[in-house]
Amino acid sequence: MISFELTEEQSLVRETVRKFAADELRPVARTTERGGACPRELRGRAAELGLGLLDVPEAQGGAGLGLLGAALVHEELAFGDAGLAIAILGPHAAPAALVELGTPEQAARLLDRLAAPQARGAIAWSESGPGLPLGGFRTTARRDGDDWILDGEKAFVVNGGVAECVVVFAQDAGTTGWSGAGAFVLDGRGEGATAGARCEWLGLEVVHAAPVRLAGVRVPGRDRLAGAGGFVVGAQRMFARIAIANAARQVGLARAAYESALAYTQDRVAFGKVVAHFQAVSFTLAELAMEVDAARWMVWRAAASFDAGAEGALLHAAQAAVQANDAAWRVADHGVQLLGGAGFVQDHLAEKRMRDTKTLALLGPSDQDHLVAASCALGLTEDAGAGLPISALQPVVT
């Protein structure tokens, strides 16, 4: 039966995280952005609250919230601050890769590395420089006895260089295209893996990211993840998880932008009138409220479909991502606009949200990737990678 009602547990999680975000994240959003790092204590606080492996089943050491529960958490955290929402969750996207591409044995064994309170994870997907038109990677994996040897360079890796559990995407030597691609979990930081200079970006500046160079990095054979249904399906499902989490963050960011515009325009007076009472402004506020809600319901539907293993889950994830990216960009933009000059200067967080939302939109598959995935799901087009991000054309942040 159609219902938007959260379970008691979900409501409780949401309230707890909402309070944490308001009290402990929002007040330090600007200072941590300027400092370019998430304080260790803050990551400790997140761990204390059990904010680690959110959507991983309890049996595998996770919080067992499912994607829907996780989406609630991501929205609230990003409502506090989008950058910190990512930075305080150490495992980042690694669990999605382990769960979707690994066997149950691999997932259980490798997730264990992420269970420690300050543990960090990473997935290294993109590559810079000319890539390959038909997908796949330039980074190679060569067999050596039971092991694999990785060589290449990965770009735009969140937690690159600081993560203890790194999933590297590479091409089996001698193959081309997605079918020859695989995922390899480095042993710790990986001997022979070095991080390059930290990425300096438009937004989400508190998030650490860097390119990672791999020179003869050895990975034991048992740590190659192949995906039960093949690489493409596994990677698609991994990205769907990532996209749903990220879309939830966009909703949180948009809600924050909307609420601050709503408050500001009801205090600000121009032409002898409260600014929010001008039609142009009130209509805009009304539109923003709609955008935020529409995006949230799309995210919830995608998460629920995914959790239920429903058909159409991948399509719903792609749709939710595009909806949320679009909504958040528009709301963040109006969030600046409705503050006038105050929106553009850094006394307020409005301008930060405008930078963060655009950066979030490129964390995980881009809208264009999602649209290709959606058209594939609808049978409108064929694409060997079914919407997997292609570095050559439009690299993404992972």
Binding site: F344, K352, A392
Partner: protein, 409 residues
């Protein structure tokens, strides 16, 4: 006859300024953005080079606030019909903004303070205040209208002015003033009595160093970081009566306020075309990026997606430019152009926002990187939707001129 081609002279000037923008402005844009300022010695060299721009002779000269040698104040207040000054200005400004919008705003000269002095000033005032730009060194003018409590609502300003013998005493605060701290003089709008609304407003030229006139906070901003945005404080600041723009007579009717507003008919298309310059820069950069990856990516449905986005970007740039040109042409022809000026600014700012956001999107993660200009353009462009009248205010200006009955908002 309808014609969208440039004259030979305009083409020549455009090519010259374009070369200048590409070789002098563009390569320095990122460093200055990071430093949050444009160094003085760079500005010195820049103004020297700008002096070498051909003036175009006669009416076709580039006014000094936009990098040309311009008029010295001796020129009549309103351009005469058939002049090409506005169109010339727009052509130059687009190229400069294409090079770097922050540096353009830092160009020595009267800046936004120029138009009110030109439109409202007496010949003596024009000569005196523009004269300073003929003397050696770096000189700036500024425009001080916005206050902490009044931005869009110009009639809501609270900075007060009181006549005391041969001087005026000014008290209040101005905020977000471009080049406010470095300006030789700032056109300050104040009121004899807020209850009088627009009729109570006066415009003064307040010179740097005047006792009681000081600089407050310098803002940190999302974009245009190399451009200075300052708070100005007036505390019992005594300004000689000779600095009241246009003299007392000007304020007898509604003319004073109209003077302040008329400024916008000139500056809005200019601000619009600056947005076009930034958007074009982002469009060209993205187009080249996608083209370079074309052969690699040809078979993919994704390529079609990206190509369509780039084509849209190009369309938006061109449509915006035409609206700006139309407003400028009307000004040159001496036609009232308030509606068209607002349309140009509103449309160009919005379209440029879209273009810059899509540029980041098409480039993917490369578009986020701080060592790429696309990231900067995304930050720079937003304020074009805010200053010189927000998007909403432009719509009000337009609505008031298209509706038969004007609603109270």
């Amino acid at each position: 006859m309808v014609d969208f081609t440039l004259t030979d002279k305009q083409r020549e000037v455009r090519a010259l300024i374009h070369g200048f923008a590409a070789t002098v402005l563009r390569p320095n844009a990122l460093a200055f953005d990071r430093a949050h300022c444009v160094p003085d010695d760079f500005l010195m060299r820049l103004s020297m080079m700008a002096r070498a721009f051909p003036s175009g002779g006669g009416d076709a000269e580039l006014p000094s606030e936009y990098g040309g040698q311009g008029d010295s104040g001796a020129k009549p207040a309103a351009p005469k019909k058939g002049s090409q000054a506005q169109r010339f200005t727009l052509i130059g400004a687009e190229e400069m903004a294409w090079g770097d919008a922050s540096i353009l705003l830092c160009m020595p000269g009267p800046g936004l303070g120029g138009p009110p002095v030109r439109f409202m000033g007496t010949p003596e005032q024009r000569a005196r205040f523009f004269g300073v730009f003929q003397t050696p060194g770096l000189h700036f003018g500024a425009y001080g209208l916005t206050e902490p409590g009044a931005g869009s609502d110009v009639s809501g300003i609270r900075t007060s002015c009181r006549k005391d013998g041969a001087t005026w005493v000014l008290n209040g605060r101005k905020c977000y003033i471009t080049n406010g701290a470095r300006a030789d003089w700032v056109v300050i709008f104040a009121t004899v009595d807020p209850a009088l609304g627009r009729a109570g407003q006066r415009a003064f030229v307040v010179e740097r160093g005047t006792p009681g006139f000081s600089v407050g906070k310098i803002e940190e901003k999302m974009g245009l970081r190399a451009s200075e945005t300052a708070e100005l404080v007036l505390e019992d600041c005594r300004v000689p009566e000779a600095n009241l723009l246009g003299g007392e007579a000007l304020y007898a009717g509604k003319e004073g306020f109209m003077g302040a507003m008329k400024t916008f008919d000139m500056t809005r298309p200019l601000v619009g075309v600056m947005a076009v310059g930034i958007a074009r820069a982002a469009f060209e950069y993205t187009r080249d990026f996608v083209r370079e990856n074309y052969l690699l990516a040809r078979p993919l449905p994704r390529y079609a997606q990206l190509a369509a986005m780039v084509a849209e970007m190009g369309r938006l740039v061109d449509a915006s430019r035409l609206l700006c040109w139309r407003a400028a042409w009307m000004a040159d022809e001496g036609m009232p152009n308030a509606k068209e000026a607002s349309m140009a600014k509103a449309y160009a700012a919005r379209a440029a926002m879209r273009v810059c956001a899509d540029a980041v999107q098409v480039l993917g993660a490369h578009g986020l990187e701080k060592h790429q200009l696309v990231e900067k353009w995304y930050r720079d462009i937003k304020v074009y939707d805010i200053f010189e009248g927000t998007a909403q205010i432009q719509r009000i200006v337009i609505a008031k001129r298209i509706l038969r009955e004007v609603p109270t908002w």
